[in-house]
C-alpha cells in the first residue's frame, strides 16, 4: 500500500478535538501521524495549503442500484460520484433487484465493491424478505456477511408487530434499525408535500402526519425493545420535536437529514420539474426552520444524501408518473457549506461531525477520525472557492439533480481512501 503525506492544511478532527495547521501522514492505509512539519521519505505528497483536512466523510444513505438496476447506477459509478463529493465511505440501501435480504446478496455487494469501488462501501440489509414487510430477512447471516444496519428503506414496515421483532433481533446483533418513516396508507397517491402549494398546483399531497405517526410508532417500539432506532431523512417539524423529546428520555434514537430538506422547500415545485420529486417530499418553511434548528441544537446526528439515481427516461415524464428520488452525493458538501456554515447556523467543525463521527457512531464504523491507527480516509475541502454544478459532468450514471446550474461557495478538493488519492478537483 502506498503512503501519503497531506501537507499544510488546517486539520480538523472533531473526535480528538484537534484543530490546527498540520500535516497528516498515512502509511499502510492507516493514519500514522498528525502534526506540524512531518518529514517522510518516499511518500506521495498532497498539498492541502489553504484547505481543510478532515476525516473521510461518510454518507450513510445511498442507493447504488446494483445488483439489478445498473442502467441507473452501479457500485462503480456511485462510488466515483461519492469520491467526487468528498465521501470516502458510503452505505448502500437494500432496495436492489434482488433485494439485499440474504447473505448471498450482501456478499456480492461487498465483493463487487472491493473490486470496483473507489470508496468504502458498507451494505445495509433489508428488514424483511423482499422488503415486503411480512417475514424477517436473514438478518443474522447478513450481519456476518457485512451489513452495518437494517432498513426497508422506501418500503417501510407497516406491521408494527414485524417491526417489533426486527428491533428485538437488531438489538441482539448490535445494529441500528433505520426506518424510512412513512405511513403508506396516509401517503398513498401523493406526489408532493400536502399544503397550500399542493392545493394550488393540483398535485396530490403527502401529509406531514404520514411521517410523524411512524416516527411516533417506532419511538414507542424502540422504548419497548431497547433497540437503536435511526430515523432516515427526517423532514418534519413534529418528527424533529419527537426525536428531541425521545432523546431527553434516553430512548436510543438518532436521526439524519438530507441537504435538500434543509436547502429548499415545496415552493420549488411550481415548475412541475420532476427533479424536485422525492420522498419524503420537500416540506414547507417551518419544517426547514425546524430541521436547521435541530442541526444547531444537536438533535440531528448526521447529514446523509439519500442519493437516489434514476435513468433519464424515467424522470422525463409527467410529474405524477415519474419515480421519487434525486442524486445528491456531489452536491451535499456544497449545499451544507452554503446553507448551514456560511449562513452562520453551524461551525465547520460541527459540519465535519455531521459527516464523520455522527454516522460512524451510529453504524459502529471505526472511521470518522484522524487518530493514529485509524483508517487512512481523508476529505480535503475548501470553504471559499466558487463553483457551479454541471450535472452533465456527473460521475453518477443518472442526471436527476435539481441543483444543476447552482452556484456553491466551498466544496471538496480531494478525496483520500486508505491513503490513496481517489479524486482530485484538478
Amino acid at each position: 500500500m502506498k503512503s501519503l503525506l497531506v501537507k499544510g492544511g488546517r486539520v480538523i478532527d472533531p473526535a480528538s478535538k484537534y484543530d490546527a495547521i498540520a500535516d497528516v501522514l498515512i502509511r499502510e492505509g492507516k493514519i500514522e501521524a498528525v502534526g506540524l512539519g512531518i518529514e517522510a521519505a518516499d511518500v506521495e505528497v498532497l498539498d492541502a495549503t489553504g484547505a481543510i483536512v478532515a476525516p473521510g466523510f461518510i454518507d450513510m444513505h445511498v442507493h447504488l442500484r446494483e445488483p439489478g438496476i445498473e442502467h441507473a447506477e452501479t457500485i462503480e459509478s456511485g462510488a466515483r460520484a461519492a469520491a467526487a463529493g468528498g465521501f470516502t465511505s458510503i452505505c448502500c440501501m437494500p432496495n436492489t433487484l434482488p433485494t439485499n435480504d440474504s447473505a448471498t446478496v450482501t456478499s456480492y455487494i461487498v465483493q463487487r465493491a472491493r473490486e470496483v469501488a473507489v470508496v468504502n462501501v458498507f451494505p445495509i440489509g433489508a428488514i424483511t424478505k423482499g422488503s415486503k414487510g411480512e417475514e424477517l430477512a436473514a438478518i443474522g447471516s447478513m450481519r456476518e456477511a457485512g451489513i452495518v444496519a437494517i432498513s426497508d428503506d422506501g418500503r417501510p414496515v407497516m406491521n408494527a408487530r414485524v417491526m417489533r421483532r426486527a428491533m428485538e433481533l437488531a438489538r441482539a446483533l448490535d445494529i441500528p434499525v433505520i426506518d424510512h418513516c412513512e405511513d403508506l396508507n396516509l401517503s398513498a397517491g401523493g406526489d408532493m408535500h400536502e399544503g397550500a402549494e399542493s392545493v394550488r398546483l393540483g398535485l396530490r399531497g403527502i401529509p406531514s402526519a404520514s411521517e410523524d405517526v411512524m416516527v411516533a410508532r417506532d419511538l414507542l417500539l424502540a422504548e419497548l425493545t431497547g433497540a437503536w432506532f435511526h430515523v432516515a431523512h427526517l423532514s418534519t417539524k413534529r418528527s424533529m420535536a419527537m426525536v428531541a423529546f425521545a432523546k431527553s428520555r434516553s430512548i436510543h434514537v438518532t436521526c439524519e437529514v438530507t441537504p435538500h430538506h434543509f436547502a429548499i422547500t415545496d415552493e420549488e415545485l411550481s415548475t412541475y420539474d420532476s427533479n424536485y420529486k422525492m420522498k419524503p417530499p420537500l416540506r414547507c418553511d417551518h419544517d426547514v426552520d425546524a430541521i436547521i434548528a435541530g442541526i444547531e441544537s444537536g438533535v440531528v446526528d448526521a447529514i446523509a444524501t439519500d442519493h437516489a439515481p434514476h435513468a433519464g427516461s424515467e424522470k422525463m415524464q409527467e410529474f405524477e408518473r415519474c419515480p421519487f428520488g434525486i442524486t445528491g452525493l456531489e452536491t451535499a458538501l456544497g449545499l451544507t457549506l452554503s446553507e448551514l456554515v456560511h449562513k452562520g447556523h453551524i461551525s465547520v467543525t460541527r459540519m465535519i461531525e455531521l459527516f464523520t463521527t455522527g454516522p460512524a457512531n451510529i453504524l459502529g464504523l471505526e472511521r470518522g477520525t484522524l487518530r493514529p491507527g485509524a483508517a487512512g480516509d481523508v476529505t480535503v475541502f475548501d470553504t471559499e472557492f466558487e463553483w457551479t454544478y454541471d450535472v452533465q459532468q456527473s460521475c453518477s450514471k443518472s442526471r436527476n439533480s435539481p441543483f444543476h446550474g447552482r452556484c456553491f461557495r466551498g466544496g471538496p478538493v480531494a478525496t483520500v481512501v486508505g491513503g490513496e488519492i481517489k479524486w482530485n478537483r484538478e
Binding site: G189, V199, R200, G202, L203, R204, Y272, F319, E320
Partner: protein, 215 residues
C-alpha cells in the same frame, strides 16, 4: 418525451393540450418553442373554462367587479374551480368554497384573496350572485368523501336553495351534469340556469384564444 418528439415532427403552429396529469403542459412548454394552450391539466387548471365562465356571467351582469360567488362540490379535484377562483378573485369577487371536508381542504382559502370556506351549503349560497356547481368526479376520487347517499342531501343544489341567494342568481356548471347527484333537474332546467350558455360561450372563447395566439 417520445410523444413530444412526435408532435414536434408534425411542425404544428401551436399545441392544444388536455392531459390527465397536472403540470403536463408546463412540462411540454419547457421543451417546445411554439404556443401551448392548456385545455385542462389534471386537477390543476382549466383556463379557457375560467374565461368562458366570466363571459357567461357578463352576459347577465354589467361587470365582474365585487361579485359574490359560491363554488360547490369537489373543489380539490377541480381544475375548473381553480381557474375560476384565480380569474374572479382578480376582480375582487368574494368567493365561498363549499363541499365535503375531504374535497375542500382548508389550504384552498390561501389560493387567492377573498376566498373563504364553508361546509354548510345553505350558509355558502346566502346572498350570492353566482352559484357554480361542480361535477362529482368519481374518476378522480380515490375514496368516498362521504356516503354516496348523503352527498345530494348535503351538497346537492335544489330549487328551494335558490331563494337564499340574490334574486337574479346565476346557476352554472361546467358540464356534463349528473342530474340528481350535484343538482336537481328542476334547477338545471330553470330560468336561473346558464349551463347551456356556458357551452355556447365555450366555442366563442376558444376561437378567440386560437385567433389571438395564431394571428
Amino acid at each position: 418525451m417520445d410523444t413530444l418528439n412526435t408532435l414536434v415532427a408534425m411542425r404544428p403552429n401551436a399545441v392544444v393540450m388536455r392531459h390527465a396529469a397536472s403540470g403536463a403542459p408546463h412540462f411540454l412548454a419547457r421543451h417546445l418553442q411554439i404556443p401551448i394552450v392548456n385545455a385542462g391539466d389534471g386537477t390543476h387548471e382549466h383556463p379557457t373554462q375560467g374565461l368562458l365562465d366570466a363571459l357567461t356571467i357578463l352576459d347577465r351582469r354589467k361587470s365582474l367587479e365585487n361579485l359574490r360567488v359560491a363554488i360547490i362540490g369537489d373543489i380539490a379535484h377541480s381544475r375548473v374551480a381553480r381557474s375560476d377562483i384565480h380569474l374572479l378573485s382578480k376582480f375582487g369577487a368574494e368567493i365561498v368554497l363549499c363541499g365535503p371536508p375531504s374535497l375542500v381542504p382548508v389550504e384552498l382559502a390561501q389560493l387567492a384573496p377573498g376566498v373563504r370556506i364553508s361546509y354548510d351549503m345553505k350558509e355558502a349560497i346566502r346572498d350570492v350572485d353566482v352559484i357554480m356547481m361542480l361535477r362529482v368526479q368519481l374518476e378522480r376520487q380515490h375514496e368516498a368523501p362521504m356516503a354516496a347517499s348523503e352527498y345530494f342531501r348535503f351538497f346537492g343544489l335544489q330549487l328551494e336553495h335558490l331563494a337564499l341567494a340574490r334574486p337574479e342568481v346565476i346557476v352554472m356548471h361546467p358540464g356534463p351534469i349528473n342530474r340528481g347527484r350535484e343538482l336537481s333537474s328542476d334547477v338545471a332546467d330553470s330560468q336561473r340556469s346558464a349551463i347551456l350558455n356556458q357551452v355556447e360561450n365555450g366555442v366563442a372563447v376558444r376561437m378567440a384564444v386560437l385567433e389571438r395566439i395564431l394571428a
